[in-house]
Structure formats: C-alpha cells, structure tokens
C-alpha cells in the first residue's frame, strides 16, 4: 500500500517516539546502500550454502534452505525500473508498485487485501532506477495459496478504475509532501542536475502533470513489457527445498512472457566541471546533497573506492566527515557518503543537513576533507580500521531470512555468481594503501563536485569546486 511517507506520519510506529543518536537520513542511506553493496562474504564461521536451481519450466533462482522456522522469504526483481517509464509518463513504475495488491483475477481490491491478511502473506513492491523489486513472505502452511495470490498479482492485476483513481490521489498527495521536504527535493534536483537528458534525471515519483496522464493501459503496458522471464532474478530463503521452489517458481512466474521489451538505456556519467545550485525553501535547516561520478561495479577500483568511502563518510561515527563536521565542530546531526553503482552509471555521493547560517562552513569542511583525501589518501591505520569493520561486520548482514534474500539478490543484480560470496572478505583484505591512494585521486576530483542545497543557506564562505 502506498502511504504518505513514513516521516510524515505521526505515531504510526509500533514503539513510542524516540530520538536516535544517528540521523534518520544517514541511517536510511546506510541501510539502503548496504543492500546493493555488501553482497559478499566469507569466513570459516559461516556455512551458508547457496544453491543455484532451475525449475522444470526453466526459471533460475538462488536458494538458501533454512528449515528451523516454517516460513520463507523470496525477493525478486525485473530489470528496468523507473528508467523504463515513458517520457511524459514519469512515475508509472512507482504507480504500478502500489497497484499490485489492488485486486487481481476475480478478486477485487478489498477481497485481495483481506485474503492476504487471512493467510498472513506479505507482498510488496518497490521500483528503483534499474529494476522493479518484489518482496514476498509466507508461512510454510500457506505457501501454495500465497503463491496463487502472488501469481495473480503479477499476471492478472485488475487495475479497476476506482482503485487507479484512489492510488492516483495518494501519489499526488505524496508529491505535495515531497515538494516541501528539503531532503527529497535536494535528492531529486541533484539527479536532475547530474544526469540532465538521461532517464536517471527524471523524477521516479513523476510530477502532477505526468501522474494525471497515467491510465490503466499504461500500467498494463509497463507490466507486459517489463515482467518477463529473461530479466527476472529470484532468491528464496527459508523453509523450502529445491524441488518445492521449482514448483513455486513455475506457478508464479511460468506464465510470464519469455522476453521483456525494454527501451535501451545509454551508459552515462554525472556532468563534470562542478556546479552548485540553491533551491530556496523557507526552513530553519538547509539540506545539501553532493556527489560526482565513480567507478562501475566491475571496475577493479570499485572495491577500493568502497573501502575509501567507508573511511570518508560511510562508516557512521568512525568516519572522517562525521569526526570533522559533527564531533569536532557540532555543525550537523548527520553527514554521510556512499558509493552506489547503477546499471548504467556509478556515483560517489553524500549529504549534510545543517542550520542555514552554517551551511557554507559545513560544505567548506567537506570539500577540504575530500581534497585532503585525494591528495594524500588515507593513513594505514584508517585503512586497517575500515577493513576490520567491513570484514568483521559481514555476518551482521546475514542474520535473518529476509536480509539474506535481499543481500543475495543485490549480488545477483550486480552480475556476480554465488561463489563471489566466499571471496569477498579476502578481496577486501587484499586492498593496499597504494590502491587507496590511487583510487582516492581517481575518484575525488572535487572540481567535478555537483552540489544541490535546499533551504535558505548562508554561503559566503562556500568555495566553489
């Protein structure tokens, strides 16, 4: 169900309101990007067996069996995502994510949703720039029935006019909120600036003008073009064996077309030369998003860049930027960076939120730290600490069925095999200080930094790239 963004809801959390030490923005960024990046691991303490299976109907999947609990989690993805939204119909794939539990086959919206509750089945969808993701969880006892509902949702969604209009109103309300949320505006405008002219620049949630134009034919059209067997990736974890999974895969995905009909998306890189944009908004605290191009996921320098990011701004309280911006100067509650490989580009990006009058100083500090890192690289101690964290914390990403499925799907999406899992920590361990220095120079060319600020910032001190 598409609801108003959680940050806008009051008291909807299952626990009382609390204040956390680490910012929601940083936390969310870390959680989000961990999904796609930490897709590897090794270590003698682990004995996770990843099976690659093929169903009788020819659908491939990865499987980790875990029979101690009678439930399973399945994560799947179709290539494409919001990059496949037609021009003028931006927001289409996001619209579709909210329509797949709104009735299918003979079941109306309400019947479908009540049925899901009756069998305690969980199903949700989300779109990213490169893929359309599905999440499915069921208890073993209800697996067959849950699979039937999932199949209906993917193959025969109804898109009843009433449901389409209801979701359209929700999406429009979400847009109104998002337009007033400095974090969201900053992020959207950053992508618009960095990837001008490329599908990545377009707003994944659409605009009012595009949302009002989206019709049921568009939803059905997207589904038909994108939900296909050749671009499908599936991971299942839990109480199911290879034979049973084969049956489930054929049941759920077997009737989908063999081939997707995707619009080609060109390789791209963020614009170079540096730019800074201020979007005025009357808020007491400004939000800045900054970033530049990075190495593709399969570039040998990607993993060193990933470790470098850990040192610089990806390591929470242990990172340089947190130390300089927050701990030493009290300029911000949250400051963070990440490296993120998309299918058609790769970025190093980050963010900071600070009172309007301190934005100039905060950005100066951040630029200085990036420059220092580019010039000198990290110290051996910084490198050792980051490697220790990345290697030692690896098991924390695999301690629930749902997390395992998400981790493995990320690995699949990046084009790696399950064997990569066993080699990951060794690859991190092998990274040298020379690697880091080389990659810091290659990555952190601050004159290419694209900065988007939302608020009423004071920027006298802000130097430009």
């Amino acid at each position: 169900m598409q609801l108003i963004h959680e940050g806008r809801r009051m008291a909807a959390a299952p626990l009382p309101r609390v204040s956390f030490r680490l910012g929601r923005a940083a936390g969310a960024a870390l959680a989000l990007f961990a999904v796609a990046l930490f897709t590897t691991f090794s270590g003698p303490a682990f004995a996770m067996k990843i099976q690659t299976i093929k169903s009788p109907g020819g659908i491939e999947a990865w499987l980790v069996e875990e029979h101690s609990v009678p439930m399973m989690a399945m994560r799947f993805a179709f290539e494409g995502g919001s990059s496949q939204d037609p021009v003028g119909k931006e927001g289409l794939s996001n619209f579709l994510t909210a329509m797949l539990d709104e009735g299918a086959g003979d079941l109306t919206s309400r019947e479908f949703q009540e049925r899901m509750e009756d069998i305690s089945m969980r199903m949700s969808y989300e779109e990213a720039k490169d893929a359309f993701y599905g999440n499915f969880e069921t208890l073993t006892a209800n697996r067959a029935e849950a699979a039937k509902l999932l199949k209906l949702a993917l193959n025969k969604p109804r898109f009843d006019p009433d449901a389409v209009e209801r979701i359209r109103k929700q999406l429009l309300a979400v847009l109104v909120y998002a337009a007033r949320d400095p974090d969201k505006v900053a992020l959207e405008k950053w992508y618009a600036a960095a990837f001008k002219g490329h599908p990545y620049a377009r707003p994944a949630n659409g605009t009012e003008a595009t949302l009002v134009k989206i019709a049921r034919e568009d939803l059905e059209g997207y589904r038909k073009r994108n939900f296909a067997k050749d671009t499908l990736k599936v991971v299942a974890v839990g109480d199911i064996n290879a034979t049973q999974l084969g049956v489930l895969l054929d049941e759920v995905f077997g009737d989908l077309p063999a081939k997707a009909d995707l619009t080609p998306v060109a390789k791209t890189t963020p614009v170079t030369g540096g730019q800074q944009e201020v979007i005025e908004m009357n808020v007491p605290q400004s939000v800045a998003v900054f970033g530049l191009g990075a190495m593709p996921r399969k570039d040998p320098d990607f993993l060193p860049a990933f470790v470098l990011n850990q040192i610089l701004g990806g390591g929470g309280f242990a990172s340089k930027l947190m130390e300089e911006v927050r701990e030493k100067r009290g300029l911000a509650y949250s400051v963070y960076t990440y490296v993120y490989p998309y299918q058609h580009t790769s970025i190093f990006s980050g963010g900071v939120a600070t009172r309007n009058e301190a934005m100039g100083q905060s950005l100066d500090v951040i630029r200085d730290e990036l420059k220092k890192m580019a010039d000198k690289g990290p110290s051996q101690e910084d490198l050792d600490n980051a490697k220790n964290y990345l290697i030692g914390s690896y098991p924390l990403r695999f301690d629930t069925n749902a997390k395992i499925a998400t981790q493995l799907l990320g690995l699949m999406m990046d084009g790696f095999g399950p064997d990569y899992v066993a080699n990951r920590n060794a690859m991190i361990a092998a990274i040298t200080l020379d690697d880091e220095k080389r990659v810091a120079k290659r990555l952190l060319d601050t004159k290419n930094l694209i900065v988007t600020i939302v608020g009423k910032p004071t920027l006298e001190h802000a130097k430009k790239g």
Partner: protein, 467 residues
C-alpha cells in the same frame, strides 16, 4: 553463517507454534523463550538465544527517560545519551564507536520518555569486550565543557532535522503538550529549543550520577549465546559496578481527570495537503486492567491500520475525501498510553468533512462494536507480525528490553499472543466506548495556509543556479 539444520531455533519455533494455535484462536501454551536473572548489585539480565548466526545483539536499558527530567531541563536525558559517547578514564574522546567499528560491530543508542538504551551488534567472540566497555561508561564518564558545547549544537541540529523542518512533527509536539495536562509526557523527548540551548555539563552529570547505575539498568543479550555464558561475562563486568542506593522509583506527576476536549490548528505553508489528527489518552500495557490494552491494540488495528481498516474503507475507498488514513494504539508507556488517528485530505477537501467522517466511523464502533470476522482477522495479522518480527534478533531484544524496562515480566511478554487471542468482541466494544471519548482527546488540524487563513497554493521552490 547459517548453521543450517544443525541447531534448532527455540525462539522462532515457539513463535510459529503460537501462530498455529492463534489461527484457530486457541490460546497457546507459553513456553519460555528468554531467561532472566539478577546480578548481586541489582542489575537485571535477560538472555534470548538465537543460534542461526554467530552474532549477538547487546543492549543496556536504563530505567530513565525524558519524563524523568528535572524541570526546565527538557532534553537532558537525550543529551546525556549523546554525551555517553565522549570519554571515560579508559576510553579517549570519541573512541567508543570507533573501537566497536574496528571490532566489526555497529553501535547506537536511543532515548524515549521512559527508557534510554545503548546497543551494539557484533560477532559473539567480542561480547565480553563490549560488556566491559559498556560497564566502564556506566560509572566513569568524563565530560569537558567544550565537548558539551559542541554536542549541544548537534542536538539542536537534530531538533531542526526531526521537528522544525517538518510541520507534522511540530503539530505532534503541540498536540502532545495539549494531551497531557500534568504528566511530563507532554514535553518532547528531544526538548524545547530554548531549554536545550541552556543544557550544561552539570545538568548532564547530575542526571548521569543519579540514574546510571546497575540497579537501575537491564542487560539484554540476544543471539548466539547461552545464559551461562552471559552470566559469567556479566558478573565479570557489570557485576563489579557498585549500585546507587539513591535510585528511587519513578514518581511523576499524574494526569487529573480529563473533562474537556481540546483542539488546535497549525497553519504552515510547508504542510502539503491539509491533514486531520486526533489523539486520545488511554492506559498502557503497564497500567491497564487485564485484557484492556490488548483490546485497544485490536481495536486500533480494525479502526485504522492499513487498507482493510474501517477508516480507510470509509474515507479513502467509499467517500474518497482522504488520500490516506491511519492510526494506532501506543501502549508502551510506563504511566499511560495513547491512541492516534490521522487522515490526509484529498486536494481541496475541507477538514470539516474529513473530521465528520472520522467521527462517524468512531461512533459506529463505539455503539455497535466490531464483527467477529474483523476481530479474527486482526488477531491473525497481529500474531503473524509478531512472528515475522521474531526473525530479527535485534527486534526481539528491543521488544524484551522495552517491556522489562516499563515493568512487564517475561511471562507477560511471552503470554501476549495468548492474551490477544482471548480478547472478545465485547471487550473491544467496551474499550472503544470508554476510551474513544472526546473528553480524553486532542484534535489537531494541519493546514497549508498562511496565518491570514486564506487557502493559498504554495509556489514551487525557486531554483538559483550558480556556475
């Protein structure tokens, strides 16, 4: 990592058993999942074994929160939580999190009205080290004036991020202040800005010395450990911290009888669509009569949770005057609980209409109660959520820690599915009639208007490009 099939998983197996029973609405026989013991200095310990991965979640919960703050020092509980990451006699400034990180762990902390919690997730071999560090900062915190001044800027930034940049959060703050006539739950956890700006090193140290002691704390360890291992490590670390005899029970001002509904309206150009909000004061799991808090949980699931709820059906699906709606019962408080309800108007719909619809839904529930089918579905969903959540040891540790910190026993926690399954339609109706009473309520309207009251469409933000 996954010790596949090698070891059983009593925690989850138990949870799933309970679901199986619950689906027939037959009370489950509650087997213990967690075990507990108390150290000689009074520190409570709860251990929740989960042997799937060689990791542990370690949490220390202090039975103190924002509602225990001295007058005019709002935010000090949360500020101290930040300052706990500075230095001790053994650990240099800012090193705490860095050491955890070097050991491959993750750490953080949070503060609520009734609790303050510090937690780490880490490989099980490191548990002793983490316990040693946490026990150290329970008694040897060091703070300088400069560190305090810098960190004060950080919490003020945090306030701007969470509250001041967000009109809904501002309204929430105002509504809470109106909901509680006497109880400190009306003061925000993060603090009022003018009081936060004056918080001092002395305020922090006084709060620390008074409340941070083993006899006011609960240790929760979930993960690949046995109670025996935890006991040995706990005695070697926390066991050596002397208790503080000054720690006394929490005596907060309590609410008088509520006799009048309260209303407020916040106009903010950043508000987005107009939205309707309503809070009701209720008991919590700690203060309610047996079965009453469970009935409130089920009531709010039926009234407000998700697309199958009464509110959503009426406002969003049938009458099409709201874009979305929601709400819940929050029963985790030591002294009281609260119901909250919201609905976001569709563009151009007046909140009068939305409020009338919400009241129609609530009136119907008050007078006619809920159907047996609705109640059964709500129970099933709740119990399934409970089980799915049990897949996550960090969530489990949090559920146990919070509950014990507000005075619930392990058998209360583990008997919850059974208590839920026993609730009758009459109890739900009774809860609705008693607590959905306007005299116990605060109604809030959030309007995207300027102070002059004219409905005014907000311009899209203006962009200025520089270079």
């Amino acid at each position: 990592m996954h010790n596949l099939g090698r070891r059983r998983l009593p925690t989850l197996a138990m949870a799933v058993m309970m679901l199986a029973f619950a689906q027939q609405i037959v009370p489950a026989h509650a087997e213990p999942r967690a075990s507990e013991f108390t150290l000689s200095n009074g520190m409570q310990v709860v251990v929740i074994p989960d042997h799937r991965a060689p990791v542990v979640t370690h949490m220390v919960w202090y039975k103190v929160g924002a509602a225990d703050e001295p007058k005019a020092t709002s935010g000090i509980a949360h500020f101290l939580e930040h300052l706990m990451f500075k230095s001790t006699d053994k650990i240099a400034v800012g090193e705490f999190s860095k050491i955890i990180s070097r050991l491959g762990g993750q750490d953080n902390a949070f503060t609520g009205q009734d609790v303050t919690s510090y937690h780490q997730r880490i490989a099980k071999e490191r548990l002793g080290t983490v316990m040693d560090m946490e026990a150290d900062r329970m008694q040897h915190l060091r703070l300088t004036k400069d560190e305090v001044a810098t960190e004060r800027q950080v919490i003020l930034e945090e306030r701007r991020s969470r509250i001041d940049n967000n009109p809904t959060a501002l309204l929430d703050e105002q509504m809470n202040a109106a909901l509680y006539l006497s109880h400190p739950y009306g003061i925000p956890v993060i603090g009022w800005e003018h009081e936060m700006a004056k918080l001092s090193r002395e305020d922090a140290m006084r709060f620390y010395k008074r409340y941070y002691a083993p006899n006011n704390a609960i240790l929760v360890v979930a993960g690949d450990v046995t109670p025996e291992e935890v006991k040995k490590l706990a005695e070697e670390t926390y066991g050596k911290v002397p208790p503080n005899p000054e720690v006394d029970g929490r005596k907060r001002p309590q609410e008088p009888k509520h006799i009048a509904a309260r209303r407020l309206e916040l106009k903010d150009p950043r508000a987005g669509n107009a939205s309707f909000h309503r809070y009701y004061l209720t008991p919590s799991y700690t203060t309610a009569k047996p079965g009453e808090a469970e009935a409130l949980d089920l009531l709010m699931k039926i009234v407000a949770d998700g697309a199958t709820s009464r509110l959503y059906k009426k406002l969003v699906v049938d009458d099409k005057i709201a874009a979305t709606s929601g709400g819940d019962y929050s029963g985790w408080g030591l002294d009281s609980g609260a119901i909250s309800i919201y609905a976001v108007a569709t563009n151009g719909t007046s909140l009068d209409k939305v409020e009338a619809d919400v009241d129609a839904v609530l009136d119907e529930i008050r007078t006619k109660g809920v159907t047996a089918a609705e109640l059964e579905r709500a129970k099933k969903t709740f119990l399934a959520d409970f089980i799915y959540e049990s897949d996550n040891q960090a969530s489990l540790a949090r559920r146990y820690g919070w509950s014990v910190a507000v005075g619930r026993s392990l058998s209360d926690i583990e008997g919850w599915p059974k208590a839920i399954s026993k609730v009758t339609p009459e109890q739900v109706k009774q809860a609705a009639a008693t607590y959905l009473d306007e005299r116990r309520s605060v109604t809030g309207w959030l309007l995207p208007e300027n102070a002059n009251g004219r409905g005014e469409r907000v311009e899209q933000p203006v962009a200025h490009s520089r270079s």
